[in-house]
Subunit: 451 residues, 2 copies
């Protein structure tokens, strides 16, 4: 549990995680207990007690209220799905249904300041006409709270299946934040999902928002987008639409910016997600976990590649336990990612929480990856599939220099287009690299089985 | 447990099963309890007791000895791996280490008659020189006891890694069977494995022995053989050696003869086994269960197909539970087969006990197949792989008439060879048919997990 909370509660900074799955009240409740309250003797005793009987897999409501946890009940409509902790400023923003709340994380029982931010009435009506539920769908579920600058936070909500974004102005005085919406709403397409339940991942840096989300009512057109949140620029870059070699029904989990070298020009944005595996047998549906990468300095392609990434690569994240007979047990479905910063900002350690895909055997595992192993996968051979009746194999053909996915493409554009379209379907059409190097070490397993 | 015992204890008749895995004393002990003793009130009460607390997964030695089970302790060297019940004649043959025992199944405490049948001394010496254990390997472990005719049983043993076979003469008097070895030993290659621990499957009918076994010291050259046990004929038919599309490190489980029509000329021999899956991804070792079929009237091929089956086909036995997200949980490893006879001899019901391949999640399931579904798989499209970088897909080319695998090949031999070598690698090289039709219904699951 602490890993999930930790991933959600990263303070405003370089590595910022946003959990795609719905975050329930529990996390808000656990926050003081796990992170902000000083450890008391009773907490220590409790912790010792459950350590003795095995890992703690659940916490009851009575355990929670009888302990030293502080329960915040100041919300209006629930559906809390976005949290942003301004550790330096001493505030905690909570995004809920039609509301954004400002809390003091040290004293959540102080009066909560609230901004009412509903969806436009015409969008609510359209949402209802489309057969959606007024209660569960047709409201503005605030799903994105990302630090924009020292005074503003960028916020997006589902806007009754018509995503909307705006800025929250918190002012310069951290003792008494301003807490008002700033400016009018803008479109949230490509930034925030339409549905309050669709998993998504987002990262805002240098005025550009990197988001893994869908851009349609049905949630079928999912992509990794980059959109500008500064000024009125409509320029965007995205993965190809409806091409299952780029993304195949992805469920996004997290995204991060991780520098490659000391030069900010080499920064890469990483997306962690799971998706339907294109490389599995045709009669055997499987879900695989992935890490995808784009260069921050990608300008997008030209000609037929206009508004498309030229540096997109993805690799499978393997989390498995080898068996004595050579048959591995796979934990295929990524549930959460935690990036642990180290002294070297280019080499944080990546912790992934995975679960099994089976409806019979329910197990979880934590796998740990070094950035070296992830980079080795991206620098390794490309995967390649010659045609529909072929299987995915290592690409043995000529790879252009500079290597696709390593740097943005400018002067070699014609050559790259040629490579992508004629020689190396593995790159543009498949965007996949071999991944046997990506697995570093197996950490621990939690198993549960349905009898 | 009763399924395993039932499979082993089929009376002498058309459907005869032989379990490949080692059968321990337990089965001999359970025999009277489960099959031959009339149910007493204490047995019924015991049965009721464990039904109330869930399925019985194990039986302790004290449960066994305190119950109504009869323990037979008349053996000399243990290692009981072959059983043959002559139900009509009132005898039970047990094959052990260097010995064959004759028991009265109604009174196993009566004096046991014993035949000493060791391996030849020079073979024991060679076995020891090859580094094998005198205790565990270099003896004649009797592994095959098959009814040959009304007076004789065909017996094979490992012969200290030099398989040997002979006949047991039981005479005409069922009240007082003769019980002597008849004739000299003959080679057991292609009939019985070299190792006392290698799983194998065998079925003897009309003087011909169908065996799934290896024919080398290392157990690497495994095949499905047909050899004659009458006279001195050395003629045999087998699957191609060291060709992983025919068989890929198989573990044989059972074999049966099942008629296709009223004409004995259409009889087919079925082999059930598991093997390393050639169609799995190259980085993901998997084991699949199979059913293979040959025609009883197969005469073997000509030219390059001399001594090779011309009617061999195999299909995957799928035993899986569908998941809500479309990801199935597979029970890939066949452990045992029980063929339940029905009124229609052409359509027995096939029960398979399967387990998971995982070293973490240990689960078992029973899947039930109708002969109609198995025949539908064999009559369905062929699987086909064009070359090394291709995947297995449905073969869309022209299939010769009569269909390969349906009847023996005689007059169309040239055409067949042409088809096999040039057009349809799916048949001879791969011998595999699509299998999505083979799964009939899911029966029940037993799960166990390693914490």
């Amino acid at each position: 549990m602490s890993i999930i909370v930790a991933a959600v509660m990263q303070p405003v900074g370089k590595l910022q995680s946003r959990r795609g799955a719905c975050l329930q009240m529990l996390l808000v409740c656990l926050l003081p207990l796990l992170w902000l309250q000083p450890a008391t003797s009773s907490v220590a005793a409790d912790a010792k007690a459950w350590r003795q009987t095995g890992p703690r897999l659940q916490i009851s409501y009575s355990d929670l209220t009888n302990g030293s946890a502080v329960v915040w009940e100041g919300g209006v409509n629930g559906s809390y799905q976005a949290l942003l902790l301004g550790e330096d400023h001493g505030w905690l923003l909570v995004g809920g249904k039609d509301h954004i709340y400002l809390l003091n994380p040290d004293s959540v029982d102080l009066p909560t300041r609230t901004i009412y931010w509903p969806a436009a009435q015409e969008n609510v009506e359209r949402c209802k006409l489309a057969g959606k539920s007024l209660e569960r769908d047709c409201a503005n579920f605030v799903r994105l709270l990302q630090p924009f600058n020292k005074t503003h936070v960028y916020a997006c909500g589902t806007g009754a299946f018509h995503p909307q974004c705006t800025y929250v102005h918190l002012g310069y005085n951290s003792e008494e934040p301003l807490f008002v919406l700033s400016g009018s709403d803008e479109s949230g397409r490509g930034k925030c999902p339409f549905s309050p339940r669709e998993p998504f991942a987002v990262f805002l840096t240098d005025g550009e928002l990197y988001a893994g989300t869908s851009v349609d009512f049905m949630g079928a057109n999912a992509a990794i987008f980059r959109t500008s949140v500064m000024g009125s620029s409509q320029h965007y870059i995205r993965t190809e639409a409806y091409d299952h070699n780029w993304l195949n029904e992805p469920d996004f989990v997290s995204s991060f910016s991780i520098p490659d070298t000391h030069s900010p020009d080499d920064d890469k944005i990483y997306f962690f997600f799971k998706e339907k595996a294109v490389e599995a047998e045709q009669w055997d549906r499987r879900v695989y976990s992935r890490v995808a990468r784009v260069c921050k300095n990608d300008l997008g392609g030209k000609r037929s590649l206009i508004n498309r990434w030229t540096t997109f690569l993805k690799a499978r994240l393997v989390c498995s336990v080898p068996g004595p007979s050579g048959v591995d047990t796979h934990f295929d479905e990524l549930q959460d990612i935690f990036v642990l910063e180290t002294k070297d900002p280019q080499n944080p350690t990546i912790y992934g929480v995975f679960s099994t895909s089976s409806s019979i055997f329910h197990g979880s595992a934590v796998c740990v990856y070094s950035m070296a192993s992830i980079r080795a996968a991206f620098n390794g051979p490309f995967a390649h599939k010659e045609g529909p009746d072929y299987r995915w194999v290592e690409y043995k053909g000529r790879v252009p220099y500079p290597r696709p996915g390593a740097v943005r493409v400018q002067s070699h554009m014609n050559f790259y287009c040629h490579f992508m379209k004629e020689f190396c379907s593995c790159w543009l059409d498949a965007c996949m690299v071999y991944t046997y190097d990506a697995f570093l070490s197996f950490f621990f397993i939690i198993t549960k089985v349905r009898y």
